[in-house]
Structures are given as C-alpha cells and as structure tokens.
C-alpha cells in the first residue's frame, strides 16, 4: 500500500492533520506509539466521561470530538507503533507488534509533541519523584492521584495539575513555586499581546485563586531545592527567603515548563534554531510548517510550544501544505482553507511571549547547585563529573558525550541535553545557541536487533 502522507503522532496536531489530509482525498498513514489516540494533552480521551470532565476540565474534554472525527476517517491508523527513524528521503522506520517496517511517502508530518524540561536537583532520580505531567497522565489514564504530594516548580501546567488534584478532592502537602519575581518586569512588556486573550489570563488567575482558597500551603521566594531521602523520596528541602525548610512527602512532582521533543526532528537531519525566549531548540519551518528538508513538515508543540489548540491549527496548516505540495489541491484552495487555521494559530500564540517570559525557569533551577546532583540520569553522571570533563578543554556537547558518555543512554539526551548545553555555555563563556546540542541519531527509540534484522521494506508496488 502506498501513502501520500505519513503522520507521526496522534495528538492534537497529528489528528487534525489526518482529518484535513483525508478530507481532500489523500491516502494517510497515521502512526502513534500509544494504544489510543490523544497524545499527551488528550491522553485516554476516548474513555473519558463525566467524572473525568469534572476533574480534568473542558480543555481536556475538547479532545473527544477530535478523536471521534479521526476514528471515522478512511485512513490507516496504527496505534502501538514506535517510530525509530525518519530519513532525509522521507523513509519512516517504525515497529509494531514485533515487526519493523520501512515505509516511504512524498510527505511526512512530524507531530511528536513536547516533553517536560529537565529539572535537575539533588535527589531528582529517587523513586517517588516524578514530573507533574506524569501526575496528570496517571489521573487521565488510571484515575490515580498521590495523596499529600508536593508540587514544585513553575509554569501553567504545574498549576493546572494542582488544580485538577484539588478538583478530585486530593490533598496537596505544598505547592513550591519557583517562578522568578525577576521575570515580572520583562513579562509586562508582552502584556499588551497577552491581553487579547484576557480569557486565558483570567483562567490562570482562577486556578491560582481556587488553589489559594483551598488552604493548600504555597511557598514562594524559592532559591533552591533538594529532594530529601537516600533510597527513595522522603520530601523536599526548600530554600525560601534565605532559610531551608523541609516538607515531608513520599511524592514530589516537579515541573518547569515543556520543550519540543526534538529527537526525531534532529535525527531526521532537519535544521533547528535556538529559541532564547522558550529556551529550547525548534525545527526551522516555513509558513506551511515545512521544514528544511523538502517534503517533511513539523506541526504542533514539536515545532515550538503553543498548546493544544495551536497544535490543531498547525496540523491543518501542515496538511494543507503537504496537499498543496503533492498537487492534491490547488494553491488557491489551499490558501483559502488555511485562513481560519491561521487566525486560530495567531490567537493562540499571542499570549506565548508573556507566558514564556513570566514563567521562564531561572538559571538556578536549570542547572543544579549541588555537585552530587545527577545531570545525566541514564549514565548516572553528576554535576561534578560533567564539570571535570568540560575542564579538559571541551567546547561542545558531542565532545563531552564522547568523553564521559553523557547522553549515550536510552533516553538519548532528552533529560540531560539542555542542562549539559547550559553547563558548557557557562563554563566556556559562550551562548547556548553557540554551544549546540547532541548530534542525535536513529533509532530514536530503542529497537530490538531482531526487528531491525527482519526489517520489512515497503516498496511502491
């Protein structure tokens, strides 16, 4: 079977792209690594009912009609499919049910979304410490919540999950807010743009005030954090207003923003640029979400953080771009159809500069203060290990990787890449953009040797 468009990721961007592409008669292959569609934001949405609606809120439930629409399409949707490579010739390598396949199409849309930014503090590798997004995933997929947990960090997601916990009647031991006051004044310069979405600002305010009203302990003016415990998490030690304060809990949820998950886009050979405001790498894209390699598109948070609705709009735009490129629709139709998505995208993105600046994670949390804090979780390398290695005279993360194995574990640098980059920038007195990132190679998810050896290559016949 040959496809016109292969879409990787069935989150809001991917589902939206599939709908747009299929509506114009394109033959679509939609690959996703989860058993059901939704990505992160709409995880487990198909099974969600009233109980979920009450706790998780309407923004989450908005994903349900989208998933229904996707399911009704005449496309090839493969769930539990792990994509491990996209080549610069648009060959897509993926595994499902123990079989690896290589399939090619004239257009490939990467919609692999975002992940949470690393939060390297002493003890962050202890059992019991998880990301706030993980807490939300547990709520969505299993209805499970941790009693008496500590939420620490900054960013809208932190407050959203805490709010959802309170909606579920779960007690929170403390919310430790690391939002830097120093961000306020720079953020205000972006307020005019943000005020166009006063509804979103109000929503955030509402979560905050409900959390305060609940009597949950909130600690701010935080300059340092350490997880307590030797073999598992026992709580969080917080430096607030210059003094250390210990809060006990078995569960600590950390969060300081989300960043594009760039492993697939980098490994495909796409050009990326450093975004100093979002403090992350983003694939370079044009107005049709087309990336630097012809025929490859990037839609959704994987191209830069914008949220679920922006992702949907980009999914449409990328699909229209692909359809236009393949000649499946003419450019006039394409341009006309994109108008509404572009308007939505613009509306969704105008609040970003304000949010990104207000919630910019501070330097002191992007890099730990403790020498024994782990930087590379997979290879168990500490801050001291990394610093000592840089001292030999290294200038970049790839030299560092080859000298001490940072980034060589199975997570492929997802949880240490940005930190390592910062460390090298600091120590060699250069900018993050200048220092660069790990050179990423396939497979971007581990692949059984047997599957690779039995690789089934689909040709066009």
């Amino acid at each position: 079977m040959s496809f016109d468009i292969i879409i990787i990721g069935a989150g809001p961007a991917g589902m939206s792209a599939a709908i747009t592409a299929s509506d114009s008669g394109a033959k679509v292959l939609l690959l996703d690594d989860q058993p059901t569609p939704g990505g992160q934001i709409y995880r487990a949405i198909e099974a969600a009912g009233d109980k979920q609606a009450n706790i998780l809120g309407p923004d989450y439930m908005a994903g349900k009609p989208l998933a229904e629409k996707m399911r009704a399409l005449n496309i090839e949707y493969v769930s539990d499919a792990s994509v491990w490579q996209v080549t610069d010739e648009r060959e897509v390598g993926y595994s499902t049910g123990g079989q690896a396949r290589l399939v090619t199409a004239p257009a490939v849309i990467l919609a692999t979304g975002a992940m949470e930014r690393p939060f390297p503090i002493k003890g962050w590798t202890l059992p019991g410490v998880m990301m706030a997004g993980a807490a939300q995933t547990m709520l969505k997929t299993s209805g499970l919540a941790a009693e008496g947990a500590i939420f620490a960090g900054c960013g809208p997601l932190l407050y959203l999950v805490a709010h959802q916990y309170l909606q579920a009647g779960v007690t929170i031991s403390a919310i430790v807010d690391t939002t830097a006051k120093a961000n306020r004044i720079p953020a205000l310069s972006h307020l005019p743009g943000a005020l166009k979405r006063w509804d979103l600002l109000l929503k955030g305010q509402k979560w905050q005030s409900e959390i305060r009203k609940s009597g949950t302990r909130i600690i701010d003016d935080v300059s340092a954090l350490r997880v307590l415990g030797e073999t598992k998490a026992e709580g969080l030690s917080v430096n607030t207003a210059g003094a250390w304060l210990d809060i006990k809990s078995e569960h600590v949820f950390l969060h300081q923003g989300v960043v594009p998950n760039v492993n697939l886009s980098f490994a495909a050979g796409l050009d990326h640029s450093w975004d100093e405001r979002q403090l992350c790498w983003r694939p370079d894209t044009d107005t049709w979400c087309g990336a630097s390699i012809d025929g490859i598109f990037v839609a959704g948070d994987g191209g830069g953080i914008g949220g679920g609705l922006a992702a949907r709009a980009e999914g449409e735009i990328a699909a229209l771009g692909a359809l236009g490129k393949l000649g499946l629709i003419d450019t006039t139709t394409r341009d006309a159809r994109a108008k509404s998505a572009r308007a939505t995208l613009s509306r969704e993105l105008c609040i970003r500069p304000f949010l990104d600046t207000w919630f910019r994670p501070s330097d002191s949390f992007r890099v730990p203060i403790d020498d024994d804090a782990i930087i590379c979780r997979c290879e168990e390398l500490s801050l001291k290990d990394i610093r000592d290695t840089i001292e030999i005279g290294l200038v970049g993360p790839n030299q560092l990787k080859s000298f001490c194995r940072a980034g060589m574990g199975p997570c492929q640098g997802r949880f240490c890449g940005l930190t390592v980059q910062e460390l090298i920038a600091k120590q060699t007195k250069r900018t993050a953009a200048d220092v660069g990132y790990y050179r990423l190679r396939p497979p971007i998810k581990p692949l059984r040797l047997e599957e690779l050896a039995n690789l089934q290559i689909d040709d066009d016949t």
Binding site: G98, M131, G133, A134, S142, L144, T231, E380
Partner: protein, 104 residues
C-alpha cells in the same frame, strides 16, 4: 500512596510482581498499576546500583524499565498490564538468554 479517585472502570487484570498478585484496571499500564499498588522502585541501575522508579510516564525517560514476561528493559509505562503477566524489577544490565518470549 496513589489512590483511585476515578473508580468506574473494571479492574479485571491480575498479574504477578515478584510473587505478589497485583490487580490492574483494564487498559492501564504496568507502571500505573504498580504505583497504584504502592510500588515505587522498579529497577536498580546498571552503573551505580541505585533504585529508580517511573519518572515521566510518557516513555521518554527510560527509568521505569522492568523485566516483563522474561523480556528485560521494557518500559513499564508503555506496556499494558495483562492477566498472567510476570513482572519483575530490572536489576542491573539486561541479560541475554536463549528463552525469551516474543514481545506482543
């Protein structure tokens, strides 16, 4: 402790974790089921023998690695719990053995 705050789906899945029976909700991951049963530590790392548990719950951190039905280093948050499954902590590096079941 993780507790069930939305309790409407059937919990018909029963699997074995190192000799103990664990009940899982239909469709949930091995990781979620174990967290729900109070298990926080899923493996011992190969380099420094430290305890680790699930961290991201979305398949990108590779800290929730366990031996599932004889297959080492499987991401427990990416594997749906099934009745009769045998789950154990991953202690150190993966072992290559001649009789590992095919991953489903």
């Amino acid at each position: 402790m993780f507790k069930r705050v939305i309790d409407e789906t059937a919990s018909d899945v029963v699997f074995d974790f190192e000799g103990t029976e664990v009940t899982a909700r239909n469709g949930e991951s091995v990781a979620a089921a174990l967290l729900g049963a109070g298990v926080l530590s899923f493996r011992q790392t190969p380099v420094k023998d430290r305890a680790r548990g699930p961290f991201c719950m979305m398949g990108v951190c590779f800290d929730c690695l366990m031996v599932i039905d004889g297959q080492p280093n499987r991401q427990a948050c990416q594997v749906r719990a099934a009745s009769g499954m045998k789950v154990a902590r991953q202690i150190g590096a993966a072992e290559l053995t001649l009789d590992q079941a095919d991953p489903a």
